[in-house]
């Protein structure tokens, strides 16, 4: 056993972190919120050049062919930076789903552009119907009953579902399933959907780690500098304990998320259980970090001029996405104590 990442994983993370520090500043995130599509094609193309967009795409289709153990660290960094680009739906969920059930034709047609950052994917499952960036997706992978379909955006009707997070452009889609769009049905489709849901939950859990870390970092920075009653507020026990609690919750979530990444990468039998534990814990950690960071900041924290709300809203939105904490805890409950 070796509970640590390889040097390559860590190196890749460092590269991505440096990239985000330069290219995905809080100002850039704000710009995305107010932009038409909610994300930047330019930054996505640059991410493609680093190999990020095609990280899960097989090498035969122009990707890096890496697994979730590499992806999880990148996703964590993307959460920390508040990345508005569709990395969860396209890279973490869409590409593996297409690789798994797509026809040779479809794989050939879409995976290379995905890896090159020239196409993005939208994913809509029955269990999580809000398709992120649906309006700018080039191909939609949609579940209907026990079938999975690949549908062109011009074949669906989209209903915008405005999210509290300005960089998430959610929509529900209505469409008519056709034989020509069907990728899988029956057990094969059910397994693919299960796997997609787990990948989405894992990806958002990983992003939530980064979001929580950023929330705590901002709060700690503030607590060190903000003076009240003649001292930095970080000197007061009430503030220290609050921040320590938030950090502890995050540190507890982190290994569970990494463990879930391992289970997804190896498709372990305990995959669903591990993912649900991770998502439930990461959602709770982010919710707490959000509340604590705001309380530490005081009123400045809920103003638009301060960056804090960008991460608070991302945290709340991700906590509610791909199964919220309650849903995942219920799944844990069903797994550890099956109904007779």
């Amino acid at each position: 056993m070796r509970f640590a990442f390889d040097e390559d994983h860590v190196l890749f993370r460092t590269t991505v972190r440096d990239f985000f520090a330069k290219e995905c500043t809080p100002a850039a995130v704000r710009e995305a919120w107010s932009s038409h599509r909610g994300w930047s094609t330019e930054r996505w193309t640059k991410l493609a050049a680093l190999g990020v967009t095609g990280l899960t795409v097989p090498e035969s289709h122009g990707g890096l062919g890496m697994d979730e153990l590499s992806l999880v660290l990148v996703l964590e960094e993307s959460g920390r930076a508040g990345l508005p680009e569709p990395i969860v739906d396209t890279t973490a969920v869409g590409a593996p789903l297409l690789a798994e059930v797509g026809s040779d034709d479809l794989r050939e047609r879409w995976l290379r552009p995905v890896a090159a950052g020239q196409a993005i994917l939208g994913v809509g499952l029955a269990g999580y119907p809000y398709v992120d960036h649906a309006g700018s997706a080039d191909l939609l992978l949609l579940q209907r009953g026990d079938e999975v379909h690949a549908v062109a955006p011009d074949q669906v009707t989209m209903f915008e579902q405005p999210s509290l997070d300005g960089a998430r452009r959610l929509a529900t889609v209505e469409w008519e399933p056709r034989v020509g769009t069907r990728l899988a049905d029956g057990e094969r489709a059910a397994a693919a959907v299960e796997s997609a849901l787990d990948r989405g939950a894992l990806a958002t859990a990983a992003q939530l780690l980064g979001v929580s870390q950023q929330l705590i970092n901002l709060a700690v920075q503030h607590a060190r500098h903000r003076v009240q009653f003649g001292q930095p507020i970080g000197a007061f026990q009430a503030v220290k304990h609050m921040l320590a609690d938030a950090l502890l919750r995050l540190e507890l979530a982190r290994p569970v998320v990494y463990r879930a990444a391992y289970s997804v990468a190896r498709d372990e039998p305990e995959r669903a259980l591990d993912v649900s534990m991770a998502k439930a814990y990461a959602s709770d950690a982010a919710t707490l970090a959000s509340r604590v960071a705001l309380q530490t900041h005081g009123a400045i924290g809920y103003t638009w001029e301060h960056d804090l709300h960008l991460w608070m809203k991302r945290g709340w939105a991700l906590a509610a996405s791909w199964g919220d904490a309650a849903w995942h805890r219920a799944r844990v409950g069903a797994a550890v104590l099956p109904v007779p």
Binding site: P162, L170, Q231, A238, T287, A299, A319
Partner: protein
Amino acid sequence: MDFELSPEQVAFREEVERFLDDNDDPEVFDVTRENMAQIVDTPKKRAFMRKVGEHGWLGITWPKEWGGQESDGVYEYLLNEALARRGGPQIGKGVGIIGKTILAHGSDRLKKEFLPKILRNEVEFAVGYSEPDAGSDAASMKLRATRDGDGWRLNGQKTWTTSAHFAEWYWVGARTDPDAPKHRGITLFLVPLDQPGITINGIWTMGDERTNDVFFDDVWVSDDYVVGELNRGFQYISEALDLERFTMFTFSPIEQRMDLLRDYVATETRDDERLGDDPVVRHEIARLATDCEVARVLGLRFVAKSMKGGPPPTTEASEYKLFATELSKRLANASMDIGGPGSQLRVHTEDAPMQGRAESTYRYTVIDTLGGGASEIQKNIIARRKLGLPKNF
């Protein structure tokens, strides 16, 4: 002990409800705005509050000499909660803070000028205690007032003055004696907001609401508009804050969200199971419902205690504010969690559960555990005043 309202109080509540039915208007009442709904910031809301005044319901507890009815505080409580339940403007600042402080400490001149206007809702106030460097540490405010002729010159900055961009008068604390201990050198002033030298800059919040920075550049104010005694301002502010902690953080919106959440889990199904049949959800609902009842009774205790006359029940106000706002936050967390993926959808989106209140509450109630004194400040007040523990943050 009697937990029931008297027949007179029940009749009053019914009269208020009828009045609100007759004046129902979505531009006046909006439950999704939560705390910010109480602000009287539009002509329609002003007109509505004037009607409330015509009914004799503003300053209902004030002395008859000054146009009040000398009624028990429970009537004001019933009125305010009824307004809050519909997301309407509330009696807040004019009656609850400025009027009461002027009645207790103001000169005859201030009483004659302001009290009748307050009762007719002909004037809006902004309250200026907070400054960029003095948030929780309110006594360390720096806005400077220096002697000049028959009055004072004010220089400096206030922040978080929510009503400054539409109010006429500014109720503001300034430092008149920089050499005194920090809480003994502050004086309260009433300043017209349309004076030269006052600059108001908007700050927009997560709840999509506007609050303001207010800058003073050599703003002159006459001695006539000094409230109470010189250098006693912080004492008046502290008394007013005790009132504010109770009246500004109404219970009705919490109760209403509890009802929404309960109705939601009673009817909504997930994975073919009714949410309300899930023991974990039931446990959470039971706990929150219990806490709501605790907050309600705690509020009633404050009302009962404040009716006996004498000084405002200060630690009770802090206990209520602390518990009610932390509960409000936990209720928001639970609504988000139990509301599932739709709870990230913005208010007024068709699919958003609980009328979109899961999301809107999360944004609008961020002020709860900070405004009117952060939760940590309430704990300090309780520890010092009730337990007699030494002063420390």
